[in-house]
Amino acid sequence: MIQENQPLETLQDIKSIMNRSSRFISLSGLSGVSAGICALVGAWFAYGVIHRSGGVAYHLERDYQNDYRGFGVSLLKSLMGSALFWIAVLTFISAFCFAFVFTYFRSRKERIPIWGVSARRLTWNVLLPMIVGGIFLLKLIEAGVFGLIAPGCLIFYGIALVNGSKFTLGEIRYLGYAIIILGLINCWFQGAGIYFWALGFGVFHIVYGIMMWTKYERN
C-alpha cells in the first residue's frame, strides 16, 4: 500500500533533481556582493580620471581626430593608452575572480561539480549577449558615439543576465530587468554614464547579492 504523503515526497524529490540537474545553483550571493564592491571601487577611480581630464568622450575623441585614417589601429592604441580602459579591465577581472571564489566554495560545500553541464550552459548563455554586445560597443566607439557606451554596457549585461536566468537561480532575472531599465533610462542622460554604471554594476549587484545570500545561504 502507498502511504498518504508519499506522492508529495516523491514529487518534491523529482522537482529537486530536475532543478539540480538543469540549473547551476551554486552561484553564491556573496559573488554578487563582491562584484558590486569591485564595480564601486572601479567607478571611484574612473570618476577621478574623468574629473581631471574632462570626460570620456574628450579622452577618446582627441585621439580619434588626430589620426582618423588608420582608425582600427588608432582605436586600439587610444584604448590601450587610456587609464579608463585599464580601470575597466582590472575591475572586470577582480570582480570575476572574487565571484568565482565564493561560488567555488559554495559548490564545494554542497558537493556539486563546478564545471558540469549546467555550468557550461549558463556560461554560454551569459557570454553570448556579452560578446555580441562587446563587439557592437567597440563599433560604437569607432563611430564616435561615446554617450551610448555606458547605457549599452548596462543593456547588454542585463540581457545576458535574463538569458542566463533559465540556467541558474531564477531570481537573477530581476537583477537583469532592473539593469536593462537603468540602461534604457541612461540613454537619455548620456553625460551621467559613470553614475548609472556605479548604480547598476555596483549598488544593484550588492542588493541582489545580499538578498540571495539571506534567502539561500544564511544558515
Partner: protein, 100 residues
Amino acid sequence: MKNPIEQLQKVFDSRVRLGIMSALLVNEQVSFTELKELIQVTDGNLASHLKALEENGFIKVNKGFIGRKTNTTYSVTKAGDKAFRLHLDALEQMIKQTNR
C-alpha cells in the same frame, strides 16, 4: 472515476529510477557520472536501475568516447517521456484526492 493508483507505473516505483527520469526529462543527455553525483548512489545500483529502464524502452544509451575514455550518456525516449508524465499526473491526482 478511475483510481489514480492504477495509473502509477510500477517501473518508476524507486527513488533511483525517479531520479534518473527526472534528470533525463530536463536534459538532452546526461552521463553516467553526472547521474551518480546527482542521485548519490553506487555504480552497481545505478547501473541495474538504468538497465531496467532501458529494457522497458524508456531510455536510450549512447556510447561515446572522450579521448580514450568511454563516455556513456543516457537520454529519454518518446515512450519514456510519455510514461513518466502519466506517472506524474497520477501522483498529482493522488495528492488532490488526499487533500480533499
